[in-house]
Symmetry: D2
Subunit: 261 residues, 4 copies
């Protein structure tokens, strides 16, 4: 088994902001790829906004088991067509891990159906992510909490649907809280939102954050065969019904006609 994993990054701050460049000279995508590679069952590559089709042509997505998404200032530059196909692949079974400012990415807002808004402050304050379920696959090996000396504050209310599982809740030095690790099931796909990762602090170099990312890739991986027709609406004709059935009443559709969409 190899979990085919793609780390997507808009890759902008690392090229035009000297603070971010100093921390992630090769881009956040490559730092995260390095972190994931510590798990030999994770086979990792990267993709960025600047590539053709943002590096996510259909053929590549079809061979991707888990996609990580980091974006911040260029959410609007991601093409709707690429977002459509990522959304479809999640429904088919591709895992999706959305990181930090990705809360406002097109793909996360699509999957959630809600504004995904929050309040924020960039003051380098201390964040402590409390583990809600230390027996969950995603939280293995990290103890009762992750402490980040410098972090961006993300504060409640976080406008997302009630999750399947609340895995982390953050405490901030400035007085706010945030549900910083949340899981969702959507069709055949699993989604994990993980809040830490502001680009002006070396958060993806934190050992515990790295463990969470590796654990999350394994958790989000669905080994089932892709559910390719997950969006289809097949007609089941009356003579193919599981029970013997005499058609009655009026019909809108002729026999065998496709449904409206």
């Amino acid at each position: 088994m190899a979990i085919r994993t793609v780390v997507w990054n808009e890759f902008i701050h690392e090229q035009n902001n000297s603070v971010v460049q100093a921390i992630y000279p090769d881009g956040i995508q490559n730092e995260i790829a390095r972190v994931l590679s510590a798990d030999r069952e994770i086979e990792v590559s990267t993709a960025t906004l600047q590539e053709d089709e943002h590096g996510l042509p259909q053929s590549r997505l079809d061979e991707t088991d888990v996609l990580l998404w980091w974006g911040h200032k260029a959410h609007g530059d991601v093409s709707d067509e690429v977002v459509d196909r990522v959304q479809q692949r999640v429904a088919e079974g591709m895992g999706l891990i959305v990181l930090h400012s990705g809360h406002f990415s097109k793909i996360f807002k699509r999957m959630m159906g809600t504004p995904c808004s929050l309040r924020w402050r960039e003051a380098g304050e201390r964040e402590r992510l409390w583990v809600i379920n230390p027996s969950h696959q995603i939280t293995q090996g990290i103890g009762p909490a992750i402490e980040l000396p410098h972090s961006e504050m993300y504060g409640e209310p976080f406008l997302v649907p009630e999750p399947m599982e609340t895995l982390f809740v953050s405490w901030y030095e400035g007085g706010e809280v945030f549900r910083s690790g949340l899981t969702y099931q959507r069709g055949a796909g699993r989604i994990f939102y993980f809040a830490p990762g502001h680009e002006t602090y070396p958060i993806y170099k934190d050992e515990n954050v790295g463990k969470v990312l590796r654990n999350a890739v394994r958790w989000a991986y669905n080994p089932a065969k892709p559910w390719k027709d997950v969006s289809d609406a097949p007609n089941v004709p009356h003579d193919k019904a599981p029970e013997k059935l005499e058609p009655k009443g009026a019909s809108l559709h002729r026999a065998g006609e496709a449904g409206f969409r």
Copy 2:
């Protein structure tokens, strides 16, 4: 109190299909409006695809408490701009009741984030909607089940997120089942999906279906003040933090600058 309710209908089959016309000569929207009017606290009006902005300008949505949605063959003709504003109003607190083939409407797919697909058969077969929670506000007054002599079959798997509450599960003569009444909370808004309503059978004239619709309007109504800034992401400057806070580390944003989206 009056719950300001709008019944939206694409209003096509009633104009070009003689079977549907015979059942709903004034359009499904007016039949449902009539049904809702039996509750004096529901103040009801209608809107259709053909009207300017589909009858849903911002000013009207701002004064709508609950919106019912019926569409089937023209989902693609609904403008994205109108869908955007309906989605925003649900987040702010407007209730949304999606009916029957509305499962494939743009607005429902937006709110769910999933394909909303299902399997179907138009054979006029018997449907029995079993009540899962007879003490719920939506199921008051209808007994253990609703029986429809002629219905379109909607079969599982239904590709929606696990609901907040499963209120109805349907049995079909031909052998399938369907989760036919589901509730969701999204931001300040409540959503109810209710499956019955195929246009070639007089389903909205069924007394129990009418009760469900009236109950659902009351359930979906959120009397709280609209959450107008639900999609905003306000910056909380360090000197406005609830706890005294000394800024530390590097920043991406200048003080007071708006966040990226």
Copy 3:
């Protein structure tokens, strides 16, 4: 409409601890009753551990719409028989509001099925309860957060099932967080757990806490007729089946025999 509400308290600390006595000379139950009475639709009375059947005979529970529960050091003294009947009444539709140290009460552990454990510290530290959904009925009128100058710390992990809705998350001065307002639906009954209320601080005299309690009573109230047979398992004989049915195969039970339990 009057919501028949009973405030239950073990009523011990107020009788043997001078600090608590000074704050709640008439007992926490009477303070909460006073707070609830500000809403004229709430008809409130009290009950305590020391009364016959702890003040909760079947006849009284049958006429109770919402029960509030405060206990701390005498959870073990509550009789299982009374807990049984409270649990049954919640399933039938009585609302249940569990306060503070009631997390370890027999009735809350029964309803949750989990240990309901947490970590704690009694240091009079500051607590800030952030509102997750300001448009919810329970959070009306209290702004973005409730600030308590002195509170007992309750820390995660809180061993309860994932809730229907997370309404409050608390920040503590000492560095912990807690999901301090959670809702559940169980049968016809609604349950709200609300964390604040340590007896050595005058928390139930806080204006916002009072609002939450009044709002919660209204939210927990189910106006539907009690679901008296909610625990029954009726046999549906083959000749009473909704569809015509020929019995086949072997049977364990004779016709009309009651099921095993």
Copy 4:
């Protein structure tokens, strides 16, 4: 890896009812054990009501990863002490699979907190279990539905909490429906309720039912170290708080004193 699995059965009908004896001469527990053994990673043994401590002493539970539970007419004979320890082990991470009439077992009612009631009919009718999520680990390899030629009807309303995931919904020949496969997370433990299994029909010999059972054991298995102190409520003294903290206000407890329970 070997998943240490125990199949528990009350083992009564197989000894005193000739129909059941003919189908399961060695008891349902041994039939299920045989079925599970087809997966080499499942290491299976059995336990019955009649054994000392019902075959579930603490030492054995401590070395059990997944427990399957089949009971029907002797739920009341299971000792509360054994139920207590099974419940604690589920919270610590042991998987629990509850089968058929086990819906009324003490352990299932404990874990759910609800009556777990339903309606039923023993008429040997046809049951069709529709798969809601064919990409779930539990539903692998079984196609869109499982068809059982003879089954006991279990009908809604099923009085359990809204599940984490609805995996199966059943159609019955006589006209009812049932949510026949449901998952729950409770503490570190996963729970799966699976409805089929009436003892007068050879349901556990069905190939697809067997696949579900094997899949469910793998799904319910939590490889994390047992969460042994899941029910503890540790005091965190002020000088061990994550943040520097000056104690303020009055205290109920002396420093280091254990909390009440």
